[in-house]
Symmetry: C3
């Protein structure tokens, strides 16, 4: 028996929406620790993973490890039926191939219950080695999304350059070139609006703009985002999920001017 209740159904909606930017189906691995997920996009260029601690759920019960294979389009349709302040409960009996999703309004006057079929999804799990990064940049997630979207008009590649002064995003295409610079600045009172760069050494890397645009759509998850960069190592784009865990995207840098992004399973 697996049962997990989250006070805000909207949070799970945001997590699954973020997954859906990269994959169509995903396995949720449920254990007594919580719910984990890792999935690779079909071209093996990008990886997404999330980790939701059992502490974030109340109650949380997972008698034995189970894997919930979800068609994300279906889950999106179900989650659209939740009210803004509804709680969500996921429930699955052992040895069934269905998932029960239950929404309850705060005053308990409305309940919505859904039964969806689970899927068998083949996945390979990729070990992601710990890395010491050359630069770790934190910036407002809305700013990151805006920059990715703006630069998507200027070519397929987006260059991120980190120095001690700040971070610079640039692109160049048919209509011209663009360079957006953010200066490092900390504000004591508005932590979410600050831009910080922890720098071991200056680093300049090139990425596929298209993927960064997709990643940045996870903005509703968190007011800030962290980019971790190192040469020949996948970029990590991390969104903290308050009190519950985090969601991370990984993307290998482009090498050379005309080359494609490396497969993430080759470079990690």
């Amino acid at each position: 028996m697996f049962e997990a209740k989250l006070a805000q159904s909207s949070l799970l909606k945001k997590v699954l929406d973020a997954l859906r930017e990269i994959v169509e189906d995903a396995n949720l691995d449920c254990s007594s620790d919580g719910i984990k997920c890792q999935a690779m996009d079909s071209s093996h260029v990008a990886l997404v993973s999330f980790d939701l601690s059992s502490d974030g759920f109340e109650p949380y019960r997972c008698d034995r490890n189970i894997t919930l294979g979800l068609k994300l389009a279906t889950m999106t349709r179900v989650l659209k039926c939740a009210g803004n302040d509804d709680s969500i409960t996921l429930r699955s009996q052992d040895n069934t191939d269905t998932l029960t999703v239950l929404f309850e309004s705060p005053n308990q006057d409305k309940t919505s219950q859904f039964e969806v079929k689970l899927m068998d999804i083949d996945t390979e799990h990729l070990g992601i080695p710990e890395s010491e990064y050359s630069a770790v940049v934190q910036l407002p997630s809305g700013e990151f999304q805006r920059i990715c979207r703006d630069l998507s008009q200027f070519g397929d590649s987006l260059v991120i350059a980190c120095t001690k002064d700040g971070v610079e995003f640039s692109g160049s295409g048919e209509i011209g070139s663009a360079k957006i610079s953010l200066r490092q600045h900390s504000m004591v009172d508005k932590e979410d609006e600050q831009v910080t760069v922890e720098l071991n050494q200056p680093v300049t890397l090139t990425f596929s703009t298209r993927y960064l645009v997709s990643f940045s759509k996870a903005t509703p998850l968190s007011s800030s985002v962290t980019l971790s960069l190192k040469a020949e190592t996948p970029l990590v784009v991390e969104y903290r999920i308050s009190d519950v865990g985090h969601l991370r995207y990984y993307l290998a840098p482009k090498i050379g001017d005309d080359e494609e992004t490396e497969h993430i399973d080759d470079c990690s």
Copy 2:
């Protein structure tokens, strides 16, 4: 000579928008009592009617009964030209085939006058027998719209089940099944948000989801909606139009699992 002035043009816009969900053309029957209308959708499955009392208009003058045959698409275009707080006057001379529509801004500084052609529309008038219903459910109209829209993702049929505890809407389709329950609750201070069930006997009926979704688009007309149910009798979905009258949709229940909705003229 027919002349009727309504302080809020937006009200007539909402009524005609609600009509338009079911029919393209409609006859407005004007008498000294007020304006009535009844129209059946082209497949003879659903019926819509409204009744606006002459008391709601000021002035209201109808020297002899006339029928205004309206092309609703044209009326929608005309009514879009009204300002939010404009009054509306409908005027038609005897023996003409045009309707004059006049909008006046509250301060009288702007007036907009339109002349539209009237149509000859063939209609049959259906007598709707009074019925004592098994259950009469009142719920917030926005909630009803939400439920219809949510369940439209789960199959073509929507089951409404009324018990003394409340009302349950359910559906089932390719992606899974869904069941939304509203518990009866009255709030003295927020009458529009309450859910009440007047029950003579429990009743469970199945309807075409598509029609209910159309009906529920009349939500702007009223903050609450009333559903009246009885076996082998058309469902009545009623929106009160404050101080002026009401608008009602009728829809025959489906019989058997795979059957089509009955023609409303057969079952009434």
Copy 3:
């Protein structure tokens, strides 16, 4: 060397958006006086011009007259990358074919710099003779846009009639006819909402609705608009650009019922 900085980048965006309603490319003529532009639509029926005084920029530097040939679609894409409160600096070195566009956030923490290619655009400059108009109407720009949009549903032609009492806009098409009247009224406290008519003699002229709808999209530039009318003379639709200058559209009246709008270069 040309350099011009405007505190509000949004103002230039609105000016170029207004140009784009009529033309795809435009030459900006820069001199020590400021930036001027004149452009004719491809069918030679409408003309747009604007005049931004050097006083509106700080700093403004123009060592020698230059012409910046802009592809407006490109400029729109670049200007979309500006933040709401960003300043904009246009910069071009002598003897280059690129324009540098620089956005700076109020706190200087974010800068975005773009390089776009300039174009060679063939244009003829049309001398617009001063005219004494029969009527000059001032009305809220939003009201003018609303009226043009509303009447676009009633035929291809829009008649503007000015009398001492006010101004009347009318149209007539397949679905019926429409007449919108604005009464002259001045409000001391809300100058932008007033409707005034300076009348030398009553005048009634017919214009292509389509062009008026395009012109009226410049509404964001100013809260009021001025229409100057005279028989056999192009209509002038003018938007003041606060402290900086103005933008004007010119459109020749239609002559006769079925005739096309005259070419503006014939009638001026």
